[in-house]
Symmetry: none
Subunit: 132 residues, 4 copies
DNA sequence: GTGGTCTAGACCACT
DNA sequence: GTGGTCTAGACCACC
């Protein structure tokens, strides 16, 4: 059951299922939670778990393959590409966070909110999401 | 040309033009940069400036009207609704920033980035965008 | 009818329809027969012309977009990407021919055929296909 | 180790393993490098050498048997069929090269490359692969 | 068992 | 009109 893949659909989200999956795998590889050579759940298996059509999963996997994150092996489960540098250093991973934060900064500016207030809000949200 | 409306399309962005425009006006009103009674550019004018189909602008304006932010006046330019409370207090405006920061927090968690690192990045991005 | 797109299915071919289309567009752009900014036939139009399902066309177009060859414009026909350098010089185009010729060379070697014989055959095939 | 069979997988190649093997044996027989009566490596041996499932090798051998190129002998290694005319004349072997060159010619035409340029490239590739 | 391709057809969002 | 997403389900090729 629990193979550590740990993906859940955001049914409320605007972005399509296959995109959520692509992003999830990409981040999981970037953070080293899935490593080069690791196999990922089969199309049919994951489709059943998420109760979506297999083609939706397949579409996500194909994009990740085109991107070089996954690699296909005829007749065998797909796996994280060997040549893909996994577990990027934190400094690089941080850059993956940049686009969303830039958007937030633009919104803050338009709302004429101060840096301090924006930072405080982000801090409290970070605490909520990970109360460790 | 410069009527203080100051809207620019993010052509690369994922969200649709009409949505960008709605968000822009909403924030501009919330922050008091446009006040009750202020006129906004006509559909045709703005459509021409942005090189976009007039219906796209019209759609945005209609949504804002339905929301009570703008009001239509036969034969006259639309304007910010009189009964619309403008210049919401900073505390309320801050809540408009929440969704994007929540998304950023979720991404940070998935990337296994620490709170400190995420905050530091956000701080430096805020400085970039408004170095005052 | 004839919009100069000039694509025909190789029904006998082993490679899938969407791949044939991807290759065709890629080559057509590389050779400058389609230029940056040119619109390509709509998904529905081309699907009907070729008597295939629209999703098959869409899949090809999406791949070309991911590759940077085409660009999407919400609600509008897709077109050749602006930043895509079109009409590559003949020297570069020649490199696109390399993989297939390398395969042919490997086969020739394995069949222990001489260079002269292989070249002669290729020459006559080139004459057949373009009897100008 | 080196029994003169000299087969290597193109893992990056699009065509399946069993097909690569079939083609290899066929060409090797056609060119007389393996002759009627010669034994070929056992399924298990070759599977181990290539790190491939034995069934994949078996499938290739079965196809070659059905084609009359190999023959099976109970309890003994398969060998090149006795009645198989080996070392086809060069003129016939040349025809085995045709399909790939036809594909190359089609690509050259689509890329709007001249006959001379295409021939020159093929010539230089033939030199690279066999600089003798 | 694995993934890939394709069709039929619904429904949505955007211009 | 444009493209995008998704489902249902058939059929194929490969390991």
């Amino acid at each position: 059951m629990d193979d550590g893949f740990d993906f859940h659909l955001h049914t409320g989200s605007a972005d399509p299922i296959y995109r959520q999956l692509v992003d999830h795998v990409r981040r999981r590889v970037a953070s080293g939670q899935i490593r080069a050579g690791d196999e990922i759940p089969s199309v049919r298996d994951l489709a059943q778990r998420l109760a979506v059509h297999p083609m939706t999963i397949s579409k996500a996997y194909s994009l990740l393959e085109a991107e070089g994150v996954l690699e296909r092996r005829r007749g065998l489960p797909m796996r994280v590409a060997a040549q893909h540098r996994d577990a990027q250093p934190a400094a690089d991973r941080l850059q993956l966070l940049r686009p969303t934060l830039e958007r937030a900064a633009a919104e803050a500016r338009q709302l004429q909110l101060g840096k301090a207030a924006a930072l405080r809000l982000f801090g409290s949200i970070l605490d909520e999401s990970d109360p460790s």
